[in-house]
Symmetry: C2
Subunit: 213 residues, 2 copies
Amino acid sequence: MSQLTVTDLTRVRRHPERAHYDRDTLHALLDSALICHIAFVLDGQVQQIPTACWREGEHLYIHGSNGSRMIRALRAGASVCVAVSLFDGLVLAKSSFSTSVNYRSALIYGQFAALEGEDAKRASLKAFFEHYLPGRWDEVREPDASELAATTVLALPLEQAVCKVRSGPPQDKAEDEAAPVWAGVLPALSGWGAPQPAPGCEDWPLPGSVQAA
Amino acid sequence: MSQLTVTDLTRVRRHPERAHYDRDTLHALLDSALICHIAFVLDGQVQQIPTACWREGEHLYIHGSNGSRMIRALRAGASVCVAVSLFDGLVLAKSSFSTSVNYRSALIYGQFAALEGEDAKRASLKAFFEHYLPGRWDEVREPDASELAATTVLALPLEQAVCKVRSGPPQDKAEDEAAPVWAGVLPALSGWGAPQPAPGCEDWPLPGSVQAA
């Protein structure tokens, strides 16, 4: 497995046994996520914004309107800390103290850079669609030149990054192990509900992308 | 509805029609969330950590080990931007450009303060459990004095806060409305899967808290 370089910024201090510094874990986590949280400093004030994200190769991508304050700040080179986190379940121990959650999270540090050129932006937005709902890109009208011109696509290199993962059953203290209390994991599930047609589409067959979701 | 005071920090510029500045919306959003993302600056570096959260009255709470770098930084008065975000579904328009997501998100700015005293910490941790899994607190061993002493509980006042919400069907451009493409919303669902007993608990009946989940 290809390893990320561990730096002072990415070395996990608390629960270091939960740290993962390999690209396979990072890629799998990013490929399971739809949303990231981007922290940055703007005019001396710490800020963050949740936004859609996708991975291609060794970069994490986001997009937005050219006019967005966050997009302008990131494009200008603001340092970021991006979090991608997935909640996997409740870890129900026999004591309150040992109760925990299962999760997978990644932190990525660095600076975004903007994609230049219509073709590069269109190709990356297609990858975004394929991540969110495979097949949907081919069903909709592609962006035209003015829409592409109004959109910024930003890429963050997966260089300074670390994953932290907790999985498995609770770990009770020895003194609690024999307590007559059910312990275990209540796993979190996520999925899609029944599609809700827009007005005017009630009688249409579902498109392939939605059928396959 | 009780309104939050709008400040330069909390005024929404992009899609201002999605902004909500009332406490009812904020409370409902926080009460639906299990995880928040806390952005802060430590030694000149922007950082963020996803962590469990709960609301009581007009404060958002988190907890952690006294030794955690984040806990120490927040306890020392670091300014934070806390995001709580819920992904509600894909908004499938007839063009790529008008495709969107439905979501509810809150940003809260300010500084955390630590709860002092065993009783205050125990009561707040009970509220945390009641938020995550009602009834579980009464099934497990409560924290003892040393566990409470090792735990920091932090409260952030809900003063500088704003919610941003997108809901409902896609809004296509007029030129796309007649296109023969299915449009609508694919709602995101979340829930609990089958409980997974810890080793030794396989033959036990499920506790009331898990049965009711």
